[in-house]
């Protein structure tokens, strides 16, 4: 009978499979790996770590420099993680204020939607450029974790698709 954990806790346990990490590290790790596709806040991370420690899924180590407290995954933690994984990924949670702007376009000040779309296009293009840069770099360092690569690839795919979508919007919208 393993402890039932939520997706947030599961993601932390996932990262802890690679070795002990502090809360701070975990936030950074998530940021670097799934970045925009898995939001995680400090508050959340520390809360879950404390809870998981209580349930024995994780054990805190000696606090080191600057109060850094590394957590190590336990066997129970690994079991809980496997258990969560077996239940499959849950529903996605998505809130895109940009799309809200688009669907409510009719009720916005004229021209506002146009401006916002232009900004977003620029933003997505910049993002895409970043991703491509990272991919290039990883290729040169011949870092080859296919899972990270695949996630990056998803970012590239979606950013590209978004830019193309904006470019093909009919003139009534890009008014």
């Amino acid at each position: 009978m393993t402890t039932e954990i939520n997706a947030t806790a599961a993601s932390l346990l996932g990262f802890l499979h690679d070795g002990p990490l502090t809360g701070w590290d975990l936030v950074a790790r998530a940021e670097q790996t799934i970045g925009p596709f898995w939001s995680l806040t400090k508050s959340q991370v520390y809360r879950e770590l404390a809870l998981m420690a209580e349930h024995g899924l994780v054990t805190p180590g000696e606090t080191g420099r600057r109060d850094a407290k590394p957590y190590t995954i336990t066997d129970a933690g690994r079991a809980a993680f496997a258990d969560w994984a077996a239940r499959g990924p849950g529903e996605a949670t998505i809130r895109l204020p940009l799309l809200l702007f688009v669907t409510l376009g009719k009720h916005l000040e004229p021209g506002l939607l146009r401006t916002v779309l232009a900004e977003q296009r620029a933003h997505q293009a910049a993002l895409l450029k970043d991703y491509l840069g990272i991919r290039q770099m990883l290729g040169e360092l011949d870092e080859q974790d296919p899972h990270l690569l695949a996630t990056l690839e998803y970012g590239i795919t979606v950013a590209r698709a978004t830019v193309r979508w904006i470019d093909r919007l009919p003139p009534e919208i890009a008014s």
Copy 2:
């Protein structure tokens, strides 16, 4: 000095521009228009409606059949909406458990990721088919709100991109 509202309240006010709606209607409306790109729960909607009524952004009408209580947007409500819109769309919130699965793939039972990806491919393909069906239907009814169309188009673009992404994943992942 208009009341500062959050994105959720703003979305409700946006829909109310088209005429009075009950909380239930608002949930349905959101579902039909931005569907997967703007999550809204009942609890949230009723809470915001009550708050907005308190602030005079919205006025409740006579409760009709089955306790249905329609809300009408006020001038203050329209002002608050315009104000929110002028501040621009905020940050997107995204949590894709599928991507979490992919990046943590290394630590999953062998084969699990493969299964999950196959399911997701099917899911996205079905979604895409739905969207295309809706687009077709709207075309025939020559319903022509370009904003709704644009949102639909986004769904199509992303679903398609996702399917292609899955199809092109390297064999080490679709192991």
